[in-house]
Amino acid sequence: MAAILEVRDLRVEFPTRRGTLTALDGVSFDIAPGEVLGVVGESGAGKSMTGAAIIGLLEPPGRIAGGEILLNGKRIDRLPYEQMRRIRGKEIGAIFQDPLTTLNPLYTVGRQLVETMQTHLPLSDRDARQRAIGWLEMVGIPAAAQRVDSYPHEFSGGMRQRVVIALALCAEPALIVADEPTTALDVSIQAQIIALLKRLAREKGTAMMLVTHDMGVIAETADRVAVMYAGRIAEIGPVRSVVKSPKHPYSVGLMSSIPPLDRRVAQLSGIEGAMPRLSAIPQGCAFNPRCPHVFARCRQDRPELIETGTTRAACWLYDPASEKRAPEAVQHG
Amino acid sequence: MAAGALGRVLDSDLFWSFRRSPVAVVSAVVALVCVLGAVLAPLLAPHNPFDLASLNLGDAFKPPAWTPEGDALYPLGTDDQGRDVLSAIMYGARISLLVGISSVVFSTVVGVGIGLLAGYVGGSLDSLLMRIADIQLTFPSILIALLVDGVVRAVLPREVHDQIALFVVIFAIGISAWPQFARTVRGSTLVERNKEYVLAARVIGISQGRIMLTHVLPNVVGPVLVIATLGLGGAILTEATLSFLGVGVPPTQPSLGTLIRIGNDFLFSGEWWITIFPGVALIAMVLSVNLLGDWLRDALNPRLR
């Protein structure tokens, strides 16, 4: 099936007074209809920025400096603002961490839904209102017929995020970009929202990019995962492979850092050090100063994504041309 | 150490954004010329307008030097008493700047103190102080200054008043501007006082006064700098207005406002230079300071743009 979203070699730069910072470099992936791509990584890895670049909302002075983004085969990375605004909403729905940034506090949620739908679909007022109620029911808002006339502040946090989801989905976009949609919510509410998002994406055949730092959410929701580090994709592959047998030493470290729930361990494993700042990304592989398997080549050349069985990892350990360093050296757990 | 500090300034983001803003650079140059001209007036001015002995009534009403009747001795002409207008402007700017800066410092100290106290202590003290500020803000500051000046004049004997007139004007202008500082500082203090570094200090048991001064104060002064710069332009103008109305500094120490008022009498009899040049100087000074303030606000808080 043709991919809905294709990102090719995306590069985002931030011109600053101390030179140009490269925030994203060589990011490529695609998402098929009905597929959920999870994008994980630590703060500053570039995961949210990838989402922002796709929906055309990069914060200035950031700009796309290379590569291309295709939605249903059409370039959308060079569109003028007004045209991009129309695509957002109609073809791309966005869900952010804080529902209050998406909702207009001055309008009822019904009016916001109706306006969004009427902007993009030929609907009469009556039909649009009916559909708005239908959407609120679909996202699990009780007594939707009455709540449709409520203002955003009259909803609780979890309910607001449901409204945002309805708003993102109501124009039936081909792609949803969800940036930490459950991070602001409590665990007990998170599960409800995740289940809802997943069901809706499946049912409508919507492609979804799910940006989060929570591996648990990814494991439950995503079909494939891209692990990002310092503005690049470190590893990408089916969720099961990445979660259960990650290949890139960073993914391995990330997975083993998650404290286990089923037992107490004497010493938790983490990754030494911290992610480099954009202004100080080391030469070669960006992860090399923290990597337990680093060897000479890692400090010189930057690895591209290399096939490693089920996933692709940007790591020289998996390059047959690297002087023999058995990939088995990577320890899991 | 000093070289290191200078290096840090030259390397800072603020200086970088300054160099990239032509308006800021030009304003800074103009402001610097005004300030230097004023501060160094006794050294730079061609004449001493206060030295009555050197005044020659025969030189009165000389037009600027480039006009046919001009005299190279008096580049911007002379006034009705034969005083050199350029020198009078330089000495006048001294008074204007002195009053402007002093009153801004005064209102900053009062405003920051009250804002800090209201924001940090909160409760009914906060309500009381902020209602007072609200009430004062409903009056134009010039009205407050006039009121204060009037009251002081009425209360003090004439000789005493003349002696301390400068301080009265500084007080009058300063007291009219504190609410702005207080409100801004209170707002930032409300945010800062709940930050965890303040809580950490409270857990240690650091006294509230010390927390206010060493923890909160350094973190709320940023916006104060902006308001102070913008306020300086306003204070200079208020002083000029008071002097123009004749209630400001005593005529023995003419400020730019006084010069404009004196010159105003001759505007329609053709001796335009007596009032226009002090006016231009005032505009240049206030405008450059205000533009600098605008730039500073943008530079310190890019999101406001």
Binding site: E42, S188, H213, V243, K244, I258, S269, G270 | -
Partner: protein, 351 residues
């Protein structure tokens, strides 16, 4: 246990006035409104152990943390620090120096205008623990080394550090007055997961070496399991279950505790569906009658709606106390750890 617990909380309660301003209140014709953030919470923490409080946002766990270090004054009940009433204990610098706090947000917990040296030295100065500038500098260097930083880092400002390093600075500051008791309010929830492990390890290591006693606040059950000796689960300002850490995970009793565990995402990829707790946390301004959890509880009956349950040990499980009528009456399903069938016995490859 003969030894006095380091900390005892007795029937703690804290209400906040959340009324609107007087004028608006009069216009709307409404009365004062209070929010009971904490209501009737009791626990003790023996020396050298960790008690954790878990719960969702708004359950009152952070309020308890602040009550315990004296940042808030309780509306009811009292806190005893080594048997002494908190206010009296804090009036004496010698006892006050022995309790310290670590905060959640590493970006807000360090004064951005101060150098690290000054930040870490503040408690040392306040309690007069070092004589002279050289001794002070040495002590700060030693503390920075202890938390895995370099003594040279003292010259820098907080913004030059990453989140994890800042949290280390926070810990160094907390340790600088040689405390015995540390209150840790979500110390790792603002950190990335790979850094979280470093900080948790550091805290466990320091506890072992210095014999520290912790009150640990978190919303993350997995984190809590790694650090706690005992765990209290809070809901809507009340303690609903308190149990030894292992017991809480192997035999959770309160329906809310079970629901929380069910709601945790499954990293084992067993295909287990999360069973979401229905509904949302009610407003603490207007809490439900009876048991605060009854509107969401699958086991709720008429008694739960009417009567507040007491914290009692469930039959046959003496280490635990749970506030639930269903548990007390034996109406709840047999105690089995949430999702055991899948979880136990998995030799995680990734974890």
């Amino acid at each position: 246990m003969a030894e006095t617990p380091v900390l005892v909380a007795e029937d703690l309660a804290k209400s906040f006035d959340v009324s609107r301003p007087l004028l608006q209140r009069l216009l709307a014709g409404e009365g004062r409104r209070t929010l009971k953030a904490v209501d009737g919470v009791s626990f003790d923490i023996p020396k050298g152990t960790t008690l954790s409080l878990v719960g969702e946002s708004g359950c009152g766990k952070s309020t308890v943390a602040r009550l315990v270090v004296g940042l808030y004054r309780p509306t009811q009940g009292r806190v005893l620090f080594e048997g002494i009433e908190l206010e009296k204990a804090r009036a004496n610098p010698e006892t006050r120096r022995r309790m310290q706090m670590i905060f959640q947000d590493p970006y807000a917990s360090l004064n951005p205008r101060w150098r690290v040296q000054e930040i870490v030295a503040e408690p040392i100065r306040a309690f007069g623990l070092a004589q002279g500038a050289a001794a002070l500098r040495d002590r700060v260097g030693q503390l920075l080394t202890q938390v895995g930083l370099s003594p040279l880092d003292g010259e820098k400002f907080p913004h030059e550090f990453s989140g994890g390093q800042r949290q280390r600075i926070s810990i160094a500051r907390a340790l600088s007055s040689n405390p015995d008791f540390l209150v840790c309010d979500e110390p790792t929830s603002a950190l990335d997961v790979s850094v979280q492990a470093q900080i948790l390890n550091l805290m466990k290591d320091l506890q072992a070496r210095l014999g520290l006693t912790y009150l640990f606040i978190s919303h993350n059950l997995a984190v809590v399991r790694q650090v706690s000796d005992r765990i209290g689960v809070m809901y809507l300002g009340r303690l609903v279950e308190l149990a030894p850490a292992e017991t809480l995970f192997t035999a959770p009793r309160h329906p809310y505790t079970r629901a929380l565990m069910e709601a945790i995402p499954d990293l084992e990829m067993t295909g287990r569906q999360r069973i979401p707790v229905g509904g949302e946390v009610p407003s603490p301004i207007n809490p439900p009658t009876g048991c605060p959890f009854h509107p969401r509880c699958p086991l709720a009956d008429a008694r739960c709606k009417a009567e507040m349950p007491k914290l009692l040990p469930p039959p046959g499980q003496p280490g635990t106390i749970a506030a639930c009528h269903a548990v007390e009456e034996g109406r709840d399903p047999a105690p089995a750890p949430a999702g055991t069938d899948q979880r136990i016995g998995t030799t995680a490859t990734a974890l």
